[in-house]
Each structure stands twice: as C-alpha cells, then as structure tokens.
Point group: C2
C-alpha cells in the first residue's frame, strides 16, 4: 500500500503568487494546504484550506503555524528559520531544510558556500558597512548587494566607478565583481528525499534595463546543447552539495569566454520557471510538490518553445488594478495570462505574467514583445 498524500497537511510560509500557483497544482493531488502570510488579503487567501495571517519573521507565528502541518515549505526565503529548525527537531518535515534557507537568506553566506564548495562564481568582497565598501574602490566596477532582505531588485545596486560609492549600503553586504556576461541563464533543479535529482532545460533571462527584474524569459535558451548540459550539471551539483530537498532556482552568468558562474540561488519556485506551467511536461510548481512530498520527480522536457513576460504595474499608476488589452492578447494562439489576485497595483509591482508558446524559438521574441505592448496594468 502506498502512502496517501491526501492525509498529509502541507504548510507554506508565504501566500503570494508563488503560493497561489503552488495551490493550483496541489489541488490535483488533494493536498490540504495551509498558508501563513502577513498580508490579510494575500493572493492565496481564498484558496487554502486554512489561511493564517501572521508575520513570517516571527518565531511564535511560524512555530505555531508549523505545529499544525505535516510538511512545511516556503514560497519566500525571508522567514524565521529558528522556528523552522525547532519544528524540524520536533520531527516535522521542513523542505527546503531550515539551515539551507538560512544559508541562502544571506547573500554573504551564499557566496561563501560557492567558494568553499568549488562552485564557480564571480569574485567578491564581504563588507560590513558603507566605509568598507568605499575602501574597495579599486574593485569596481562591481555590484553592491545587501546581505539580507534583498528581493525583486531591491538591495542590489551598481557601482560603476568611485562616484557611485556614496550610495553604498551601510549594512553587512558584499561587493561582487561586475561580470561582462554574454547571457544570463537560469536552471531550475529539484531533489527529493530519495536523492533523485532532475533539472529543467536552461532558460535565458532578459532583464529590464532599469528595474533589475526579469522582463522576458526564453525557453529554450539560445545556447549550444553543450552549454545547456553544462549549466544543468552545475545546477545539479549545487543542489547536491547543499544536500537540499525541494526546488532550487540557479541563476547563472554565461561569460563571453563561455564560462558559467553561479550568480544567485533561490530555494523555491521562481520567476524564471513560470513558463513550465504550459511549456514543460511538469511544471516547477508540481515539481516542488513532488520533491517535498516524497513523490517521484516529473519529467522536465520542454513540450513547446516558450517565452514569459512579467506583467508589472505601469509606472505612474497606484490603486485598484485594471488590465488593459487582455482581449486583444487572448485572441492569439498560445497566449496564457496569469493574474496574481492583487487588487492594488503600484509602479513595477508584479501583478501577473504571460506565457507565450510558439512553434519555433525564433518566433518567440517578436511575439513576446507584441504581447507585452498589448497588456498594461493601470489603475
């Protein structure tokens, strides 16, 4: 007799869009999903078996929430890991494991981990405050990152030359050597308790020039099969060296001389895997569930070439969101809208995404640009 997944309660820390898409997938497995989120109107509010309003950084809130669950996971890494460690000690399954969340939460320990484990990454200097950053003018051009709390482009800034040093973060952080890369790639990889590891095909991320958010994503990446294989092997190496159970997004630079460097990792479903809902045999959300619930991992092959566009709130609009241009976009074959259930739009807030399928990878860019121009989130 197989174990019955239906009898296990899954608790997710965070009830945003990632939790929402995770629930869409969990429905098919009859999983009972509990959600903890500080926003009383979080996107998951009406979709979970039990929605708890509470602070993800608060020990008591996280611990009390987790006590009522069998398996606990995250959709955001900025959570109280002490409470998760306690739950783990008390026999709960917490995936990804709390010490790995703690390691990844801090970009300083993340970088140190790559260095210690021989994982290729850009050169860096750890800095404790603004003064320390300023002492490293000769290391520029570099990226100055806050150790903790960075998210969606916050906590990251460019230091091109000594003039930029004045805006350096005055808190523990790091300076990373600016990489003159050819492409930014991402590989999503997962691992279950049995040690099975599967990676998705590499995707290519095109960032918005100003807002440091993924603007377009293309799958497959426009790289050789050899580079794809190397990127996937690197992602698999990272999850194995972490000894992690769950889903891990590995962002990489492909340098101009063909080297792959790990940039950042996120131990959860990720913006760079949204296209997998329609474009791959298994979606990243289902794969996350499979990995943490002890199921066999799903096949990751691409069914159809895809692009993904984030729908950000238009600059200059704050208030109740209105989606413009939906009808025009939805007339096209292979265009999939995902709205995140956020009532209020703000400039550059992630309000949704669109996945775009095409018969040939060469058609993706033009189609994605056209769809992006059509759909606007205003107020």
């Amino acid at each position: 007799m197989q174990k019955n997944y239906q009898q296990q309660t899954l608790g997710i820390l965070g009830g945003g869009q990632l939790g929402r898409m995770l629930i869409q997938s969990a429905i098919d497995y009859n999983l009972e999903v509990h959600i903890l989120d500080p926003d009383p109107n979080a996107p998951c509010k009406y979709l979970s078996n039990n929605f708890v309003n509470g602070d993800l950084k608060d020990f008591e809130a996280v611990y009390n929430f987790g006590k009522n669950c069998d398996v606990i996971s995250i959709e955001i890494e900025h959570v109280n890991t002490e409470a998760l460690l306690r739950l783990e000690e008390e026999g709960k399954k917490v995936f990804p494991q709390p010490h790995i969340i703690a390691l990844i939460q801090d970009k300083r320990s993340q970088k140190q981990f790559y260095l210690d484990q021989g994982i290729p990454t850009s050169p860096f200097i750890l800095t404790e405050n603004k003064e320390e950053v300023k002492r490293n003018a000769e290391f520029l051009p570099a990226v100055n990152k806050l150790g903790k709390e960075g998210y969606d482009g916050r906590g990251v800034q460019m230091m091109r030359n000594a003039d930029d040093l004045e805006k350096a973060f005055d808190a523990p952080g790091l300076l990373e050597k600016l990489i003159d890369f050819d492409k930014e790639l991402a590989v999503i990889v997962s691992r279950n308790e049995a040690g099975e590891v599967k990676s998705f095909p590499s995707v290519e991320c095109a960032f918005h020039p100003e807002h440091n958010l993924v603007e377009f994503l293309f799958s497959p990446a426009n790289i050789s099969p050899e580079v794809d294989a190397k990127a996937r092997e690197l992602a698999e190496e990272v999850i194995q060296k972490l000894d992690m159970v769950g889903l891990l997004a590995v962002e990489m630079f492909l340098t101009k001389d063909g080297e792959l460097l790990v940039n950042e990792i996120a131990p959860r479903p990720h913006n760079s895997g949204h296209h997998t809902i329609e474009a791959n045999y298994t979606s990243q959300f289902e794969q996350h569930l499979r990995s943490i619930m002890g199921m066999p991992l799903g096949d990751t092959a691409l069914l159809c070439p895809a692009a993904m566009v984030n729908l950000l709130g238009e600059d200059g609009f704050t208030g109740e969101a209105i989606v413009e241009g939906m009808d025009e976009a939805l007339k096209e074959k292979g265009v999939y809208l995902h709205l995140y259930g956020k009532k209020i739009t703000k400039p550059f807030r992630k309000m949704g995404h669109v996945t775009i399928l095409a018969d040939e990878p060469s058609q993706l860019k033009e189609k994605a640009e056209r769809i992006k121009e059509l759909i606007k989130i205003k107020a």
Copy 2:
C-alpha cells in the same frame, strides 16, 4: 479601456470536480467565484471566494445565491431553472441561458429539439410510463432513458428484447433505437455573446462495458479528417441552433455506414474534455470561462496526442479513499493525476482522472491501459 473581468463575480451552481477544475482556471483571471452546492464538503469548498451550502433544485436557494453574482453558470444541469429565469429577467447574465438548460435537462425535449431542427439523431419514441414502454416491443432493441435526472449512467438501460421490458422506467422517458455504431465520438464546442464559435477536435470515447461510464478517451479520435470536420460542423450547428452562450459537449455515434447521429448534449464542461487541460492550447475549463465572461475564445488545437482515464472507486470499497499505485504511475513522462477532493470512495464513484500524453496516437492505448491498471482507489 477594456472591461475588467476582475470586477465581476461569477456564481457556479454545483461545486463538484467540474467546478473545481473551473476554479483552477479562474484563478488565472482573478475571477471572484461563488459556489452553491448541497454537499457541505463539496470538492470546491475551500477553493471559492464564497461557498454556499444549498439545494440546487430549490428556487429560493438558487435565486438568493444568484442575486449576489454578476454572471451565473452551471457545472451540473440539474438545477432550478425557474430561479435562473427570474435572475435573467432581472438583468443577470446567466450562461448557458436558463431555457436551454431546461431544454437539455429533459432528454425528451432534447430529442424533440434535434427532430425539429433537422439535427441527425437516432429514432425514438416518447413514453409516459412503464406500460407505454411495454407496448413498444417491436421497437427493440432500444435504450430506455428517463427524461430527467439521469447522470453518470443512471437513468439509462438497455432493452435488448421483450424479456427486458419488465425493468422499464415507470416515469416519463423515451425509447431510443439501439444504434449499431462504429465509434462514439464527442466534440466540445463553445460560443460567446459576440457569436464567435469554436469547436475542439473530435475525441473518441471508449465506455466501460458494464458501468456505462467513459472508461478511456482518445484525442485525436481514430477517424479521417473528413469525419472529424463533419463532427465539428455538427457540434457547431447544434450550439448555433440552440443560440447558446457557453460550452456544450456533443456526444455522437459514428454509425457503421459513416453517418453521424447526435446522442446527448451537456451544456457545461464535460468528462470528454478533461484531456484538454494538458493536451490542447486552451482547456475546456478556460474556454467555458472565456465564453461566459465575454472574452475571445481560445485556440482549440491539440498540442500533443492524449488519452484520459477516469479513476473510479474500486468495486467493494467504501470509506476514506486511498490512492494506490500513484508513485509508479507518476514516474512516467506525460502522466497527469487529477484527484477531485472527495474524501469518501464508493464503488464506481468518480474520484479523479488521469491524462496521458504520448508522442504518437498509436502509443496511447497501451499506455492508458497500463496506467489504469496501476492506479486504484480503495478504502
């Protein structure tokens, strides 16, 4: 400025598996979904913005539920249509239209409609009671159907010869000439308020020999492109002659001499369209939403050949459901489990379904049979 679908509340009569899969799709459009269902533990209970426990046949229950919604639709046709007519008169959008639900609810008026509109269907005799059925021994072999309330194989029985007449239904019903068909096909078609009509490719239904429920479904059907085109045209003709807004499943017989006869229709998402979630560009659930919410209809093309297997409760087991063989099945590429959130299994209860993708249609049957043997719902 486009209208904002997010600001409209959608009420669904029925909160079973069809409502559940509809909600999975509605999430992507930020639709506020209200559900009315007589079962306090209906599969949609934890997934709707507002779950109302009430009788679908009760005027007051349906009317009061509908008053709080902007658009009202169904996932089961056995509902109080008088209340829906009242809501329609009061300006609510009710799709499918109440008079069409009433027409389809009664298999007698359904058949009369085909006859009146010149839609090909099997010969039939309307009967008021058991005595009238018995007077038509010369019409056998035939199928004796109850006019109303038949569902999932209930209310339908075979009358092969005069010996079977004793079990005839003693209520208004009909006798349909038994058709010596080559295949049973189904076409799902939709129409929006603007009059746009789109049909999905024909699927082939293989029924369970004993339980009169779809056992396997194959898409594409193993028929010529000409027969597929003819079947789709026929389905489009039916929805147009009904002047219906919404999604309509049209079940047909393909006779041994190549004729298509409409068997039954259902004005909602249907078991014969479950594979569209993974296998087609647009799923039947999204298409239902698009049609009733006034969006453009989605492309219906098949992305990948697919089979669908219903997961019925095993005979001999009643009680809290346990899914056996899941892991073995989920190891395979292109196998998608959909459980319906029903805690209690009963013999032949629809507990879920599995969609199976394959590169070639010729591989589907063997793969579907293998998966069906693996997954068992017991207690």
